[in-house]
């Protein structure tokens, strides 16, 4: 356990303490205690920046399951560090924001912060683990904490729906990721990502390579809300806004991006990877931006815009894979796509984080997020408006904000695709810049909607629940910090380039990033195609925004009932329906049906095994001789047990059962088992008394008309089947001796080891003493159960002592 391990575990540890702090200090908002941790962790992780800048990596190992080769290896390189800084940095701001957003009187803060801390720890674990099994465990933990946070206001039906949807989709992807991980480990004989990367050349030709690739990508796409799995993200907006800003925009949804980036060195050489990642990304980019326009909920727009931006980053990572095929080029133009992906990832976290917080402020101050009711807030909330303006302009790709730079780099990469001559790109390549450009126009439009609809136009106070005014300063700090970062990164992008971006790119494309590789982001690079594309985006964007009323109906051309959401809803409903109908068939509530199926299975499985393994054996050689007494006793048992079937009254059957029991104890005497005979005698006496006590002394029971058992053919056949199978097994078990009995050991050692001459007793209390102890526990549990049944009475909900 190193300091790094403790750093990752610390959120989990704090999660244990938070409920106590919450109970002890009700006057202080619990968020203040929580906020310390991400700030400390952020400082801790910043210390790694100079190290990763030099290309160093830090690894720490703690053994977890050494016998399976699973170690908790944490591994800090440029890529992991970038994510760790995002998680802790945005985390600090989000916690600060939540202190003012969530009321300490009304909300269950202890739960909220426990879930949030669980998420923070899990996410750190995902991005720093080298071992894929450890990564997967943390990965599922992020899905789980996201589920809990979306369903935080669990009294709302939509929250529960959104939580279930996100869980079903992301866990489906998680399971598929697990499958991919297992295939990878079969191929490379290791769970370590670094060791897999070293073998990437050989893995390519393995027959399992394609299935592994598909499974891993399914995991990444569901997590990062790529088309068609994006449908959970808009419903996840039911979570409190700090959560949406943190999980569903800045960090968790980027876990899929992280996974694609992290495993790029393993898979990226494959053409399938290039196609799937870039096409899925582009379609998501387009579809997300297109769907965002028809939303009326401010957070809904931001959700679809997040989907779209995630698609953008994903497509850049896909394009970056093309760089692997152009080692010969002096300046590798496709590596620029990876640089753009990393840069845009940072930018997106800043501008989208601030926009989400603005949406939360508007919701908090006006009581609604519906853009049809909002308007004219500019005069009332000038600071919020400024922040929103910066965030939205950056998202639209306008200078001088950071979004402009990464958007330009994105467009440049898309244009460069035209020069690609592999993977059939000569024919299809032209689709890339066209889709990218159209999506960017839509992006421009929804960015304008986000900032202009609520803040300009006419203020309609009668539509709002309360009179809005500027948010408290505490709530504004976080969005202001993020908005300032938008400007700082926009004007001085090279603050990041060598410290953060280059090491991260080195983590994604280790084979291409040499010591002389430099990232330099220029604000102006002449009249390149991307500049003209931006100009076109702005011109068309403004035009279409002005005429929005006229064409907005087109966005609703897909009817609701054939949408992906309808598909999901019908799927879930169908699943629930079929599950309950299967349950209705199986769980009839009739014990007879259950027993029938159990006995039938018993007969079929054992009979089939006897036949299939040819196990039946009948060997009269070592049979013991039969004496007269034994025949008599056997006859009594047989007659007795058959007589029970025909007994008229309960009393008769109880007495016959007792007779059979005593006969068996006589049998034990003949079969040289005196201890058994004694025990059986005692137990049988008690049992019969108990039977009589329970049933004979119940007057109601005795007066009830008693009847003979009615004959049922099915039951008779099943019973005969059971009897025959047991007889066959008894004979075969006696005739087959597969190995020597272990009993001789007990006979030899009973006196030597345990000092007892009654071997049966020695086995019970000494050699197998633990068994006997558990046997006594079973009896005590039965006794407790009996006591409870007799003493406790159901009193219609109220417990009576």
């Amino acid at each position: 356990m190193s300091l790094l391990h403790w750093a990752v575990l610390s959120p989990f540890l704090l999660a244990f303490i938070i409920p106590i702090l919450y109970k002890l200090f009700r006057q202080i908002h619990t968020g203040w205690f929580v906020m310390i941790l991400p700030i400390v962790l952020f400082t801790y992780f910043s210390r790694f920046i100079p190290l990763t800048k030099q290309g160093e990596v830090i690894t720490e190992r703690a053994a977890w399951i050494p016998s399976l080769g699973i170690h908790v290896d944490f591994y800090v390189d440029g890529l992991g560090l970038l994510f760790a800084l995002l998680i802790t940095g945005i985390g600090s701001l989000v916690v600060l924001y939540s202190v003012f957003y969530l009321s300490k009187e009304k909300e269950r803060l202890n739960q909220f912060y426990v879930f949030l801390l669980l998420f923070m720890g899990a996410m750190l674990g995902v991005v720093l683990s080298d071992n894929l099994i450890v990564l997967y465990s943390f990965w599922e933990f992020t899905s789980l904490s996201s589920f809990l946070l979306i369903g935080y206001w669990n009294e709302r039906e939509r929250s529960r729906y959104g939580a279930q949807k996100s869980l079903l989709i992301t866990v489906l992807g998680g399971l598929s990721l697990l499958g991919g991980i297992i295939l990878l480990s079969i191929m490379g004989n290791t769970f370590s990502i670094r060791e897999l990367i070293l073998q990437s050349g050989e893995l390519m030709d393995h027959p399992l390579f394609t299935p592994a690739l598909l499974l891993v990508l399914l995991g990444a796409f569901t997590k990062s809300a790529q088309f068609p799995f994006h449908i959970w993200l808009p419903d996840a907006m039911e979570a409190p806004t700090p959560v949406s800003a943190y999980l569903h925009s800045a960090t968790m949804v980027k876990a899929g991006i992280y996974l694609v980036a992290r495993l790029s060195p393993v898979f990226a050489e494959s053409g399938l990877w290039f196609w799937l990642v870039s096409i899925a990304g582009l379609i998501t980019l387009f579809w997300g931006s297109f769907s965002a326009i028809k939303q009326t909920d401010l957070k809904g727009i931001l959700a679809f815009s997040t989907i779209s931006q995630l698609g953008l980053i994903m497509s850049l990572l896909g394009l970056g894979a093309a760089a692997l095929h152009h080692e010969s080029l002096g300046e590798n133009i496709y590596l620029a796509a990876t640089v753009a992906a990393v840069f845009h990832l940072i930018n997106h976290a800043t501008f989208k984080g601030s926009l989400f917080m603005v949406a939360g402020i508007i919701d908090h101050e006006t009581g609604t997020r519906d853009i049809r009711r909002l308007g004219g807030l500019m005069q009332l909330m000038p600071i919020t408006f400024t922040v929103a303006l910066i965030g939205a302009f950056s998202m639209a790709g306008l200078p001088p904000f950071n979004g402009f730079l990464s958007k330009e780099m994105f467009l440049a990469s898309m244009v460069n695709v035209l020069e690609l001559d592999i993977f059939n790109m000569e024919t299809w390549g032209v689709l890339f810049p066209v889709l990218a450009w159209v999506a960017s126009v839509f992006t421009f439009i929804y960015s304008m909607i986000v900032v202009l609809k609520p803040f300009t136009g006419k203020l309609q106070l009668q539509l709002l629940e309360k009179k809005p005014h500027e948010a408290p300063i505490g709530m504004l700090i976080s969005p202001i910090i993020l908005a300032s970062l938008v400007i700082v990164f926009g004007i001085f992008p090279n603050l990041l380039s060598s410290r953060i971006i280059k090491p991260a790119v080195a983590g994604i494309q280790p084979s291409l990033v040499g010591p002389d590789f430099q990232v330099h982001i220029a604000f102006w690079h002449g009249f390149q195609p991307e500049v003209w594309m931006t100009v076109g985006i702005i011109a068309f964007g403004i035009l279409l925004y002005k005429t929005l009323q006229k064409w907005q109906k087109i966005t609703q051309w897909i009817p609701e009932r054939i949408s992906l959401n309808a598909l999901y809803d019908n799927g879930v409903r169908g699943l629930e329906h079929s599950a309950s109908s299967v349950m209705k068939v199986l769980m009839t509530g009739s014990i007879r049906t259950y027993l029938l199926s159990i006995f039938l299975f018993f007969i079929l499985s054992l009979g089939f095994t006897l036949y299939w393994k040819d196990a039946f054996k009948f060997d009269t050689g070592n049979f013991a001789p039969i004496g007269f007494y034994e025949i008599v006793l056997a006859a009594i048992i047989v007659i007795g047990s058959i007589a029970i079937l025909f007994a008229k009254s309960r009393l008769t059957s109880i007495i016959i059962l007792g007779a059979v029991g005593y006969t068996i104890s006589l049998f034990f005497v003949l079969l040289r088992a005196p201890d058994l005979a004694l025990t059986q005698l005692v137990i049988e006496t008690i049992s019969v008394s108990l039977f009589l006590l329970c049933f004979f002394h119940l007057p109601l029971m005795a007066s009830r008309r008693e009847e003979r058992m009615t004959f049922r053919l099915n039951n008779a056949l099943i019973s005969i089947g059971v009897g025959v199978i047991v007889t066959l097994i008894a004979l075969s078990a006696h005739s087959n001796k597969l190995f020597d009995s272990i009993s001789n050991y007990y006979l030899e050692n009973a006196y030597k080891e345990a000092g007892g001459k009654n071997v049966v007793n020695v086995i019970l209390v000494d050699f197998r003493g633990l068994d006997t102890m558990f046997e006594i526990s079973v009896l005590s549990i039965a006794a407790l159960g009996i006591f409870a049944m007799i003493k406790l009475r159901a009193t219609g909900g109220k417990d009576k002592p």
Partner: protein
């Protein structure tokens, strides 16, 4: 001897199964009682019968019968007693509360939900 035992065991199991498939709760409990008798004899028979003297070392016999099945059965007798008594009291209380000993009438699927 083993053949005789095997048939006795088979008949015990058969009767037990038939009783357990009936509707009356008392018959089901009697069925489990018979079933455990059958199972005890089955374990004993599997180990081989009358292969020597009683497993008491003070007898100084040349060979003893297998003590292990006996130890197992001793445990099983006690456990089956625990189960039987639990079931009996359960049946007794069920009857007191629901007024029936018919398993079909106790079905919890529709009427008693």
């Amino acid at each position: 001897m083993e053949l005789l035992m095997a048939i006795v065991i088979g008949i015990l199991f058969m009767c037990a199964t038939y009783l357990m498939l009936s509707k009356s709760i008392l018959r089901i409990i009697i069925g489990t009682g018979l079933l455990s008798h059958g199972a005890h004899l089955l374990i004993l028979t599997m180990g081989g019968l009358k292969g020597g003297s009683v497993p008491l070392l003070s007898n100084k016999a040349a060979s003893y019968v297998d003590p292990l099945p006996q130890a197992l059965i001793l445990t099983a007798i006690v456990i089956s007693f625990g189960v039987t008594s639990f079931l009996l009291v359960l049946a007794y209380r069920t009857y007191q509360e629901l007024g029936t000993d018919d398993m079909e009438e106790m079905r919890g699927t529709k009427a008693n939900e």
